[in-house]
């Protein structure tokens, strides 16, 4: 498998991060989750896990694709679009 630095890919895009996250997790459901597919389905690697097995969200890098919401088997993600005028802004699309 090739190694990709996702940060380099995301650096190609324009992001206007809002102050507050548009994605929220129900950590209680996450703790009981065995699959944790949010960690590998997200094309921007927004979800990461720390040493305590807690899931973290880096919402600033979100491409607003919707995959995590559809993939999460426990409905643990409170998914929203960012506030108007914020988030990723595509130039080519």
């Amino acid at each position: 498998m090739v190694e990709v630095n996702i940060k380099d890919k995301l650096a190609l895009d324009t992001f206007k991060p809002a102050k507050e996250s548009h994605l929220k997790l129900n950590q209680e459901l996450c703790r009981g989750c065995k699959v944790r597919c949010c960690l590998f389905v997200c094309p921007a690697r927004v979800y990461t896990m720390d040493e305590q097995s807690e899931i973290h969200i880096e919402f600033e890098a979100c491409l607003e694709c919707g995959t995590c919401l559809i993939a999460c088997p426990h409905n643990a993600i409170q998914w929203n679009y960012p506030q108007g005028g914020f988030g990723v802004q595509f130039r080519y699309g």
């Binding site: 324009t14 992001f15 206007k16 005028g85 130039r91």
Partner: protein, 261 residues
Amino acid sequence: MRIVVCAKQVVDLAQIRMNRETREPILSGIPLIIGDIEKNVLEEATRIKEQHKAEVIALSIGWPQPDGTILECLGRGADRAVMLADPIFETLSSTGVATVLAKAIEKIGDYALILLGEGSTDNNSGQVGPMVAQILGLPLVSYARQLEIVEDKVRIVKGLEDCFETAEASLPVVVTVSAEINEPRIPTILDVMEASSKPQESWSLGDIEISREELEQHHSVKVLSNQYPEQTRKNILFQEELGKSVDSLLQNLVKEGVLER
């Protein structure tokens, strides 16, 4: 009381990409938006309006036509707007811009307070405000981080490098504001909808009695280059075991003169 707000249209800096070969910014196709500091200026004007009886007039000059910036000003509380659009503005230096603004402000007339940003979001020369004051023969207070109208005076707290200075000046006065002065509100969608029905005027150079020849004198500043610094990376990978890698890294940093023994 009449407040004139000067607002500059700038390229959206967040959208700028660099040409890897020439190291120059790629400006084509980048959206034009209102500058960030202008949002503080309008917020301050609106705040004054809420406390005193005041009319806020937005003034913007630019090319292409700064209609988005004008709409944004109206959405952010300006009562009416004046716009000047001419290809000559694209290459005008600060003195030229100040000359045009001053002429337009004179034509608007009856002004008590002229507000500008301390420096534009793109060029940030910080010259236009002081020059407008000079041309109009008005007092200037710059870098305002607090502004209060007390009867026929403004009382302003200026942020200097290591201290604050409180200044007072009689109206009419030119004030340039810094970003610390307030936290601009995000206008509601209703404000934006209302904006398009507020009065807007479009003036030509003829309307402010200024000739093209006169302005051409102000093409005095030539941009010789506009490049980002060359970055050379050595891309050295230390792949020994951790302790050794750290040692080698340190040695290399010392060798490069980044760290001193």
